[in-house]
Subunit: 385 residues, 2 copies
C-alpha cells in the first residue's frame, strides 16, 4: 500500500428535507452569498424558491446559466460578482458542472490574474471562498472532492484542476432533488460514477481494501441505476446512486494506490470538441478501452473484476472471464439506454489524431494503467465509431 | 436509506515515515503539548525518542501509564496537568485506550466538574483540546472517530461516550509502528475491527452501499489478520489491517442505517468485571450471539453474510448457509489464536446476572438487532463458558 494523505472534512447532510439546515450551515461563513446554478431546472422543481425563502436573512447574488461543460467565461463572470459585491460564500445548487464552476469562481475571487491560470496551474490557488453545495445530480462526486473541470472553447481545452482549498465545506444531498433527472442524465451519471471507480480500480498496483470498496460501489450503481431509470421517484435507488457518486471520487477508492486515469482524459477531448454529455462519452469509451487494455499482464485484474463485480464464477480461463466482464460492462451501459457508438452521437474520425495527441499529453497517458501513445488512442476512438 | 450526517475531517497521514510531519501537524494548535501514552512499549520501540526529538521546539508534558481499559482516574490526572500547565494540544501515542483516554482528558480540560459527568452525559462537553494521534495498534478506530470508552472500576462501569468535539484533528498511521504488536493483540485487534463492522452490518435495516463496504472491510481483515500474525513485519498486512480499523468505525459503514449494537455492551461488562482484552471478549461472544440471533426473520441476512463475506455458494437453504457463516466466524477467531471460551479466560457464571442486567440497561439491548432481555444475555454468556 502506498503512503497517502486523506482529509475530506465536507459536512455531508444526507436525506429528505436536509435543505432546511441550509441557513445553519451557511451562516458561519457570512451573509453575502453568491447563488450559482445552471439552466434553470431548479426553478421548475421549486428548489430555487425553497432556497431563496430559506435565505431570507442573507444577501443573495446570483449567477445562472452554468453550462453542462462549464466554461471559463462563467468563472470570469462569477469572480467579477464576488469581487464587486464582496461575496463571503458560494452556494452551488446543481450538478457537478455548477459545483466545479463554483470552485473555480471561489478560487478566482481571490486571484488577480486571469482565472484560467488557476486551472492550468492549481498551485496558484492560495485562498478560496467557502463553498456549500446542494446536489441535484448523482454523477461527478464534486460535492465531496477538491477538484473540478473547466472548458476553454477558445483553446479547445477541457482541463481538470485540484486544490484542497476548494473542497466544499458542506454538501446537502437530498435524493428527492434528483427525481426529475431524465433517464438520459441518470444513465450518464451512472456511467460517470462507474468510470471514476474504474479509472482507479485498474491501476498500477492493487490495494486490497480500496479495491474491495470500489467493487462495493460498482455493485451499488449496477444494482440501482436501472431502478432509478425505471422508477425516477424510487427514493432508495436515488439515494444509493447519490451516495455512491460521492464516495466514488472523494479519495477513498484511491487510498494507498497510484492513480493513472485513461478514459477521462480521452473523453474530455470528445466533449471539448463536440460538447456531448460527459458520462455518455465515458460509457462509449470504457469497454473499448478495456478490450484494448486486456493483455497477458492485465488479464488477472480483469478476471477479478468479472468475478467480484459482475458475479461470474471463478475459472481458470482468465481471458474468457476478462472478456465476459468487459462484455457485461458494455451490455450494462446499453441496457440503461446509452447509445454505445460515437457514430450515433454524430462524431466521426475527423479530429481523432489531434484529440489523441492532446489526450496523451494532458492526461500523461504514457504512464497510464496500460501506457498509450496517440496511435493507441486513435485506435480506441476508432473502435468507438 | 435513513437520513444521516457525516463529517469526519481527521487529517489522515498514512504510511511509512509519516511521523516526520508531526511538527507541521501539531504546530497550528500551539506549542504546549501533553504527550499521553500507555505502558511504555513506545520507549522500547524507539517511537518515544523519535517523537521527543521531533518536538524539540515544543514544550512537552507527559502522562504515561494509560491502562488497556483506560480508567477515569487517568482522565482526572490528565485534565489536572492540562489545567495547571495551560496545555494547548494533546498528542496521543498508542492504541485505542490511549486515544480514548486523551479524548476524555481533552474534554475534561475544559470542564469544571467531575470528568465522569462527561462520560455519563457527553452533551455536557462544550469544548475540548485538539487531539493529534500516532496510532500503534490496529483495533478500535478511535483515531478517526468522535468516541471513546472509559472504565470506572469503583462503579463497575465501562461506558462509551461520543461528541464531535473530540474527533482527532490529525492521525499519523504508520503500519511499521504495529510491527511489535504481539500475535495476541493483533488477533484481538482483528476481532475488535470485525465486531465494529458486524455490530452495524446486523442492523434493523439493510443499506446496500454501507453493507457492501462492510463486506469489503471484513474480507480485508479476514485476509490479512492471519498474515500479520504469521509475519509480524509484513508491511502490506499491517497496512491493510490499520486502514481497515480506521474505516470500520469512522461512520462510513453506518451511513443510512440505524445502529443498535449488541456484543460491545455485553463485552464491556466482561472487561469491566475481569479486565480481559476487549477484542478477545468480543471474539468469544460474537459467534454465540450470532447463533442466538439466528431466526426466521434474520436468516436472510446471515445467509447473505455467509455468501458475501465467507464466499459460500448461494443456496436455497438459508439456515444451512447462515450456520456455515457463523461456524466460519468462530473457526476464524480460533485460527488466529483466540481462546474461544470464557472458561479459558478463568471467567465463571458468578456475575452473569448482574452483568446481563447492566448490559441490557446501558446498551439498550431491548432495541438491538434481535432484542434481548437480561435472561437472553445470561444464555449467550453461558454459551460462551
Amino acid at each position: 500500500m502506498d503512503n497517502f494523505r486523506f482529509c475530506v472534512g465536507t459536512d455531508i447532510l444526507f436525506g429528505k428535507g436536509q435543505v432546511e439546515k441550509l441557513p445553519e450551515v451557511l451562516a458561519p461563513f457570512g451573509k453575502k452569498v453568491l447563488l450559482v446554478y445552471g439552466g434553470g431546472s431548479i426553478k421548475k422543481t421549486g428548489l430555487y424558491d425553497r432556497v431563496l425563502s430559506l435565505l431570507k436573512d442573507f444577501e443573495v447574488f446570483e449567477l445562472s446559466g452554468i453550462e453542462p461543460n462549464p466554461r471559463v467565461e462563467s468563472v470570469y463572470a462569477g469572480a467579477k460578482i464576488c469581487k464587486e459585491q464582496k461575496i463571503e460564500a458560494i452556494l452551488a445548487v446543481g450538478g457537478g458542472s455548477t459545483i466545479d464552476c463554483s470552485k473555480a469562481i471561489g478560487a478566482a475571487a481571490h486571484y488577480d490574474g486571469d482565472a484560467w491560470d488557476l486551472i492550468l496551474e492549481p498551485s496558484k490557488i492560495r485562498k478560496a471562498l467557502p463553498i456549500v453545495t446542494i446536489l441535484t445530480l448523482a454523477a461527478t462526486g464534486s460535492e465531496m472532492d477538491a477538484g473540478g473541470v473547466i472548458t476553454n472553447l477558445k483553446t479547445k481545452e477541457k482541463l481538470g484542476f485540484m486544490n484542497p482549498l476548494v473542497l466544499p465545506k458542506a454538501s446537502i444531498l437530498d435524493p428527492t432533488n434528483t427525481y426529475t433527472v431524465s433517464a438520459w442524465h441518470t444513465a450518464a451519471g451512472a456511467a460517470d460514477i462507474m468510470s471514476h471507480i474504474l479509472e482507479v480500480y485498474f491501476g498500477h498496483q492493487e490495494a486490497f481494501i480500496a479495491d474491495r470498496i470500489s467493487e462495493a460501489l460498482l455493485k451499488t450503481v449496477i444494482h440501482y441505476a436501472p431502478i432509478a431509470i425505471r422508477e425516477p421517484e424510487n427514493y432508495e435507488a436515488r439515494a444509493q446512486l447519490m451516495w455512491a457518486s460521492t464516495l466514488a471520487l472523494n479519495g477513498l477508492t484511491s487510498t494507498g494506490k497510484m492513480c493513472a486515469w485513461t478514459c477521462h482524459p480521452i473523453e474530455h477531448e470528445i466533449s471539448a470538441y463536440y460538447d456531448i454529455t460527459h458520462g455518455v462519452g465515458l460509457a462509449i469509451l470504457t469497454p473499448r478501452w478495456m478490450r484494448y487494455a486486456l493483455n497477458e499482464k492485465t488479464a488477472d485484474l480483469f478476471a477479478t473484476y468479472a468475478v467480484n463485480v459482475w458475479g461470474f464464477a471463478p475459472s481458470e480461463d482468465r481471458f474468457r472471464l476478462a472478456n465476459a466482464g468487459i462484455d457485461a460492462t458494455e451490455a450494462f451501459f446499453k441496457s440503461i439506454g446509452i447509445p454505445m457508438t460515437l457514430g450515433e452521437m454524430r462524431i466521426n474520425s475527423e479530429h481523432f489524431q489531434a484529440m489523441a495527441e492532446h489526450a496523451v499529453s494532458v492526461g500523461s497517458l504514457q504512464y497510464a494503467f496500460v501506457p498509450l501513445v496517440p496511435q493507441d488512442v486513435v485506435k480506441i476512438l476508432t473502435a468507438c465509431l
